[in-house]
């Protein structure tokens, strides 16, 4: 839920990176943390196992320049991708103002992509959140790998429903389209915040 603090002149939104296990959700946040000026972001907090698998969530607060005198803050979370962590995912998704679904482009991860996609939809529904109305973008990560599936195939698998999301082919480790993905979601969230409805259509990379 967005919070407007008229006293501090600050608007806060919650963004959540969901997606396939080991698909690059934490890599997105790490890249943003490394490449954003320290004056515009807080500390990256990771609750992970010894093997660097996200156990609970990663968290990074960032803020943009003021718009009409209101500082805009985004609290960015990732969720654990593993199937067994559904309850944790549902908890972190609660109150989210927008989601990025990070899919793994490798051909042998298509089943995991689909399971994670359906799991996210189920988690949202269990929270009483309507995916059709939630600002969301699709990031197809690991496009640099030789066994990356063709983009149309990933789109056919995950983005062929009545609602078409903006799609960003990315490489989170090197930063390709990481900020573009974040920008697109932030703008969708702000559009909804301003107009009270979803933006007119996807603007993919």
């Amino acid at each position: 839920m967005a919070v407007i603090n008229h006293d501090k002149r600050e608007v806060t939104f919650k963004l959540v990176y969901c997606g396939t296990p080991m698909g690059g959700k934490t890599a997105n946040l790490s890249y943003i943390h490394r490449n954003m000026g320290a004056e515009r972001r807080g500390e990256l907090v990771s609750l992970a196992t010894a093997q660097d698998r996200t156990l609970f969530f990663d968290f990074l607060p960032v803020h943009t320049t003021s718009i009409h005198g209101y500082r805009t803050k985004f609290m960015i979370y990732t969720v654990p991708g593993q199937v067994g962590y559904s309850a944790t995912r549902q908890m972190v998704l609660r109150g989210g103002d927008g989601v990025v679904f990070v899919a793994d482009s490798q051909l042998d991860r298509m089943e995991e992509n689909l399971v994670a996609w359906q799991g996210m939809q189920r988690n949202l529904a269990d929270n009483g959140m309507a995916f059709a109305e939630l600002p969301a973008v699709l990031q197809c990560n690991k496009r640099d790998l030789p066994d990356a599936a063709p983009l149309p195939y990933l789109e056919y698998l995950l983005n062929a429903g009545p609602r078409r999301l903006a799609v960003f082919p990315a490489c989170a480790l090197s930063g390709v389209n990481v900020f573009a993905t974040l920008n697109a979601l932030a703008q969708e969230v702000l559009h909804r915040f301003h107009y009270g409805s979803a933006s007119p259509g996807p603007r993919s990379a």
């Binding site: 919070v3 008229h6 919650k14 609290m75 009483g128 959140m129 909804r192 107009y195």
Partner: protein, 166 residues
């Protein structure tokens, strides 16, 4: 996990008057209980109002972690058959803290040190929670951010390139 009222797509408006009320309640609570720091957190960890030790004021990380810990323990309690979750308490060597629910979407964080006792904090927090609940009931929640006297102009259009690399 039980379904909760959907909060996505809703906008919570914290006006200056309401924040002043929150601050007064927190200030009185701090005076009564002698806690060092207290904050009213929204379910995602956003600090709606805070009072006390400036060194403990939060840039976002503490609120997010506290909200996560609270939600996780509440879910554990529910799964173990206890639907009446009353919050959590950490007894550290240097510093103690407690988190208690105010409403399903808000919680009160209190940080304190010896010689302040948890029992005293618990009793005082219960009074503060009741006062906070009264104020939260008056809080406007809308489906969009722009309200009369709120944010002027086309907020979204001006946010053309929000994030860029340093």
């Amino acid at each position: 996990m039980d379904a909760l009222p959907p909060s996505s797509g809703r906008v919570l408006h914290l006006g200056a008057g309401l924040i002043q009320q929150f601050h007064q309640i927190l200030a009185r609570y701090m005076e009564d209980s002698q806690v060092r720091y207290s904050a009213l957190l929204e379910e995602s960890g956003t600090v709606c109002a805070e009072s006390g030790d400036a060194a403990l004021r939060d840039a976002g990380e503490t609120g997010a972690l506290a909200a996560g810990a609270f939600a996780a323990l509440q879910a554990v309690a529910r799964r173990l058959g206890d639907g009446t979750f009353e919050g959590l308490f950490h007894e550290g060597k240097v510093r103690q803290f407690s988190l208690v629910p105010v409403t399903p979407q808000f919680m009160l964080l209190s940080v304190f040190e010896a010689p302040v006792r948890f029992g005293v904090v618990k009793v005082c927090a219960a009074k503060a929670v009741a006062r906070l609940q009264e104020q939260i009931e008056t809080m406007p929640i809308t489906g969009r951010g722009v309200v009369e006297g709120g944010l002027p102009g086309d907020f979204a259009q001006e946010a053309a390139a929000l994030f860029r690399q340093a």
